[in-house]
C-alpha cells in the first residue's frame, strides 16, 4: 500500500505544513531565547577588575618567583594595584644601575631591594619633592635628641631597630654583597635614610605592593605611628566627631577616587587625616608636605608657631571651610589657640624654666633619665602635655581634659612641685608664682569663691544642683 500523496506535491498535506509551521514557530522562540541570552550577557559584569599587563622582562621575574614560591604575596598584591594594568611592574621600580650602593646582580638583572623616593620620583616627582622637604623626611634625624638616648642607652640598641626605626626610619646600611644589614632593615619608617641619599619611603603610607590610594587615605595608615601615650592623634581623631562620622560612613567615602574627584564637602563629607593635612580641596592641590597646613608645632616642651604660620593657618582654614561655616571655623581655632597658650603659659614654660634652673644649680645631674624628677618632667610635656594639645587640635574632649590637662595638672602639683621643692624651695616658689597657681598654697578668698558661685549661677541660670 502506497501513500501517493508524496508524489503529487500539489495535493494538500496538512501534516507537513503543520510541521513546517512548528519549525518556524520554534525558530522564532529560539530567536527570542537567544535575544534573551544577549541581554543576560549585557547584564553580567565582565571581569570587573582590570587585568595586569606583564611585559616580557617582568614576566621573567614573576614566573621565577611564582615557580619558586618566593614572595608570591607581593606579586599577587601588585596585580591589584593601579600600576599593574599600565605595565609598571617589577623592573620599572627595582631596576638599579651598577655602581649604586645597594645594587646587586639577581639572576642576570641588576636590582636593588630598596625602592626609594628616588625611584618613585621617576614618575611621581612632585610628590617626592614635596615629601623631601617635609618634616616626615626628617623623621630619622633624632640622633642627638633625648629620644635617641632613651632608646639606645636607657632601653637598649635593639629597641632602635624595631621600635624607634619602625616609625622614624633607620639609616640603612648596605653590606658587601649588596644586601641590607639586618639591624637597619627591614623597616618602612617614614624618615628612613636610604643608601642612595634619599630620605623616607613612599611605602610607609602607600603600602607595597598595591600602593593603594584608598588605603593611604585611611586614618590607620597614619595611625600606625601617630598614636600612643605621647601623641594620640588617631585616638583623638576617633573620639572626635570627624572620626565618629567617618567610621559610620566609611562605605560612602569613595576613598579610591583620584584627587581631582575627591574633594571634601562635595565628593565625600567626613574628613580623614589626609583630608586636612594633605588632600586636595576645590582650591588647593594635594601636598605631600604634611606640614603645609600646620601652624603650631605641638612637639616640644613649649609649643611654638611655625614659620609662615599665617599662610599655613589660612590653608588649613580653607579645608575646614569646605564643609563648615566661617563662624565654626574661627571659634574652633580660637579655642585651640587659647588652650595651647594655656598649656604653654601655665605648665610648659614654668616647668621648663624650673628644670633649667635646677640643672644650672647642679641640683640634678646632666645625665637624662637617671633621676625620677626627669621622668616626671619628661612625661609632663612629652606625654600628658602633648595629649592635651593634640586633644585640642582635634576637638577630642576626653584627651583635652581627663587624658590631658587633668594628668598634667595632677602630676604638676602632686609630683613635680614637691620634687622641685625638695631640691630647691626658691625654684619651687617661682614655679608657682603665676596667678593661676595661687590656689595651691593660698586657697581661694571669700570674694573669689563668691565670684565663682555667681559665675556658675549665671552659667546654669539658677538651676545649679547640689548645695
Amino acid at each position: 500500500m502506497e501513500d501517493m500523496d508524496k508524489e503529487q506535491p500539489s495535493a494538500p498535506n496538512g501534516k507537513l505544513n503543520f510541521t513546517r509551521y512548528m519549525i518556524g514557530g520554534l525558530c522564532l522562540v529560539l530567536f527570542l531565547a537567544l535575544t534573551g541570552v544577549g541581554y543576560v550577557q549585557m547584564e553580567e559584569r565582565l571581569g570587573g577588575g582590570v587585568r595586569p599587563f606583564i611585559s616580557g622582562e617582568n614576566k621573567k621575574c614573576i614566573d621565577c618567583h611564582m615557580a619558586k614560591d618566593i614572595a608570591v604575596g607581593g606579586i599577587n598584591d601588585w596585580k591589584y594595584s593601579r600600576h599593574a594594568p599600565k605595565g609598571i611592574g617589577c623592573i620599572e621600580c627595582h631596576r638599579a644601575e651598577k655602581g649604586e650602593p645597594d645594587a646587586y646582580d639577581h639572576y642576570g638583572s641588576m636590582v636593588s631591594t630598596l625602592v626609594t623616593p628616588k625611584d618613585c620620583m621617576q614618575c611621581h616627582d612632585k610628590e617626592a619633592k614635596e615629601f623631601a622637604k617635609s618634616h616626615h623626611a626628617k623623621g630619622a634625624q633624632f640622633t642627638n635628641s633625648l629620644d635617641n638616648f632613651l632608646g639606645n642607652v636607657v632601653e637598649g640598641p635593639e629597641v632602635i631597630t624595631t621600635g624607634c626605626a619602625g616609625c622614624h626610619g633607620s639609616v640603612v646600611k648596605v653590606m658587601e654583597n649588596g644586601k641590607l644589614h639586618p639591624s637597619t632593615w627591614p623597616n618602612s619608617g617614614i624618615g628612613r635614610v636610604n643608601p642612595d641619599g634619599s630620605k623616607g619611603t613612599c611605602a610607609a603610607c602607600h603600602a607595597r605592593h598595591s600602593f593603594s590610594i584608598a588605603q593611604a587615605r585611611q586614618p590607620e595608615s597614619c595611625g600606625r605611628c601617630h598614636m600612643g601615650p605621647d601623641h594620640p592623634q588617631i585616638e583623638a581623631y576617633y573620639e572626635s566627631k570627624h572620626g565618629v562620622m567617618f567610621s559610620a560612613n566609611k562605605d560612602k567615602m569613595k576613598l579610591a577616587q583620584p584627587s581631582e574627584k575627591w574633594h571634601p564637602g562635595k565628593d565625600y563629607l567626613f574628613p580623614t587625616c589626609a583630608t586636612c593635612h594633605m588632600s586636595a580641596t576645590t582650591t588647593q592641590e594635594v601636598t605631600h608636605d604634611v606640614g603645609d597646613r600646620i601652624s603650631w608645632t605641638l612637639r616640644p616642651v613649649i609649643s611654638t608657631r611655625l614659620e609662615n604660620y599665617e599662610v599655613r593657618r589660612k590653608a588649613m582654614k580653607q579645608v575646614c571651610s569646605s564643609c563648615h561655616s566661617e563662624q565654626i571655623v574661627e571659634r574652633f581655632f580660637t579655642s585651640m589657640d587659647q588652650g595651647i597658650n594655656l598649656y604653654n603659659k601655665k605648665f610648659g614654660k614654668p616647668s621648663k624654666a624650673a628644670m633649667d634652673k635646677l640643672l644650672a644649680m647642679k641640683k640634678i645631674t646632666p645625665t637624662p633619665y637617671d633621676e625620677e624628677i626627669e621622668w616626671v618632667f619628661y612625661e609632663l610635656w612629652h606625654h600628658e602635655g602633648r595629649r592635651a594639645r593634640h586633644g585640642l587640635s582635634k576637638m577630642a574632649p576626653d584627651f583635652v581634659h581627663w587624658q590631658g590637662f587633668y594628668e598634667v595638672a595632677k602630676h604638676f602639683y602632686t609630683k613635680f612641685l614637691p620634687m622641685v621643692r625638695k631640691l630647691s624651695p626658691e625654684v619651687a616658689k617661682e614655679l608657682i608664682s603665676q596667678e593661676s597657681h595661687k590656689w595651691v598654697e593660698k586657697g581661694m578668698t571669700k570674694e573669689e569663691i563668691a565670684r565663682m558661685i555667681e559665675f556658675y549661677d549665671k552659667e546654669m541660670q539658677g538651676k545649679r544642683g547640689g548645695g
Partner: protein, 344 residues
C-alpha cells in the same frame, strides 16, 4: 515489505531520476518511524552536531596545560563575551545527548530491534555508546578542577587494573606512571581529535548499517513513511525544539566551575558526572577485582546481546517479556545506585 512504486505520471519521470538517491534513502522506511519512541535516535545525532560546533569554538580559548587549563575555562565562563553561553550549551548538550542516547538504547532493547539480520546495528550502536562515554570522561577532565583531576586519576587507575593490557594502557593514557601535564594533553587530543572523528565515523556507520539491514517489523506498522520531506522536517522540528530547550536550560543553569585541582588532597565531595554515577557506586560498593570484572562482563554481554537473544529465542524463551524485565531491573538498579551516590 512492499517496494516503493514508480511514479506514474510523465512529468515526474524526469524529476524521479534525479530524486533516485532520495528514493534510495527512504526505500522501505516503515510508518512506525514516525512514532515518537522511534525518533529518539535522531536526537543524539543533532546534539552531537551541536557539540562539535560548540566544542570547536571552545578550542579557540581553551589552553590544555595544567597551569592554564582551569584559568582558561574560568576565562571562558566569566570573561569571554558569551563564553558562559557557548560552554553552557556544550555542557547541557552532553547531558541531554547521553540521556536521550540511553532512552534510545532502552527503546531498542525493549522492542528488540536488533533481531536478525540487524545484529550489527546493535553492536555498532554499543560501540557508539562506549565512545560517547569516553568523550564525556575526556571532556570533563579538561576542566582541570578537583573532580577532573581525581576523576582522571581514578579512571586511569581502574583501567590500569585490567589484566595484560592494564599497565600499558595506563601508561598510554597518562603519558607516564602518574597523572601529569602529559595526561591532560593526551586526553585533550583524544577529546578534540581522535574520539570525535571516531565517533562521527561510527555514527555514520551505525546509520548506514541501520539503513542497509532494514528495520525490524513492528506490529501495526505497514505503511510507508517518506524520509524526505516528512522525517527530515520532523527531525528538524525536534532539533529546533531541543535548541530552544537547551538555550533556556543554559540561561536557568549557567555553567559553573568547581574548586581548582588540588593534587595534594582529595576532597570528600568529589563525584563523577551523573552518567558515571552508577558504575562509580558499583565500584565503591564491591571489592576491586569483582567490580571491574563484573563491569567488563556486563559490557561484553551488552555488546553481544543480540546473539544471546537469538540463542535464547530459539530455545523458546519469551524474549519480549525477558527484555522488559531485564530492562526494568537494570534501570531500577542504576536508579538505586545513583540515589546512593547522592547520599554518600
Amino acid at each position: 515489505m512492499s517496494t516503493s512504486s514508480r511514479p506514474q505520471t510523465e512529468s515526474f519521470e524526469h524529476a524521479a531520476k534525479n530524486k533516485s538517491w532520495i528514493e534510495y534513502i527512504q526505500k522501505d522506511l516503515p510508518e512506525h518511524l514516525d512514532w515518537w519512541p522511534y525518533t529518539l535516535g535522531a536526537i543524539p545525532l543533532t546534539l552531537f552536531g551541536l557539540l562539535v560546533a560548540t566544542g570547536l569554538m571552545l578550542t579557540f580559548y581553551y589552553v590544555p596545560s595544567p597551569e592554564k587549563a582551569y584559568e582558561s575555562v574560568e576565562q571562558i565562563t566569566h570573561e569571554v563575551y558569551l563564553g558562559w553561553f557557548v560552554r553552557g550549551v556544550h555542557k547541557v548538550s552532553v547531558d541531554l545527548m547521553i540521556l536521550f542516547l540511553l532512552f534510545h538504547v532502552i527503546r531498542v532493547f525493549i522492542t528488540r530491534a536488533y533481531r536478525s539480520p540487524g545484529e550489527l546495528k546493535w553492536v555498532s550502536g554499543s560501540v557508539v555508546l562506549f565512545v560517547t562515554f569516553a568523550m564525556g570522561f575526556t571532556g570533563y577532565s579538561l576542566v582541570y578542577d578537583n573532580v577532573s583531576y581525581w576523576g582522571m586519576t581514578v579512571v586511569t587507575d581502574m583501567l590500569g587494573n585490567l589484566p595484560v593490557v592494564g599497565t600499558p594502557l595506563l601508561y598510554l593514557l597518562r603519558g607516564g606512571p602518574e597523572v601529569s601535564g602529559s595526561t591532560l594533553l593526551r586526553l585533550y587530543d583524544l577529546h578534540t581529535k581522535l574520539l570525535p572523528v571516531l565517533l562521527g565515523g561510527l555514527v555514520i556507520g551505525h546509520v548506514v548499517v541501520v539503513r542497509l539491514t532494514g528495520f525490524a517489523e513492528v506490529a501495526g506498522s505497514r505503511g510507508f513513511h517518506a524520509f524526505y520531506p516528512e522525517h527530515t522536517l520532523k527531525m528538524g522540528a525536534i532539533a529546533v525544539g531541543f535548541l530552544v530547550l537547551i538555550v533556556d536550560l543554559v540561561m536557568i543553569f549557567p555553567p559553573t566551575l568547581g574548586p581548582p585541582a588540588n593534587p595534594q588532597e582529595v576532597a570528600s565531595d568529589v563525584s563523577p558526572p551523573w552518567y558515571f554515577s552508577a558504575p562509580y557506586m558499583w565500584i565503591s560498593l564491591l571489592p576491586g577485582p569483582v567490580a571491574i570484572w563484573s563491569l567488563l562482563g556486563g559490557a561484553g554481554l551488552f555488546v553481544v546481546y543480540p546473539f544471546v537473544d537469538r540463542v535464547l529465542s530459539e530455545r523458546g524463551w519469551p524474549m519480549a517479556i525477558m527484555n522488559a524485565v531485564v530492562g526494568i531491573v537494570v534501570v531500577g538498579a542504576v536508579a538505586v545506585l545513583m540515589y546512593l551516590d547522592t547520599r554518600m
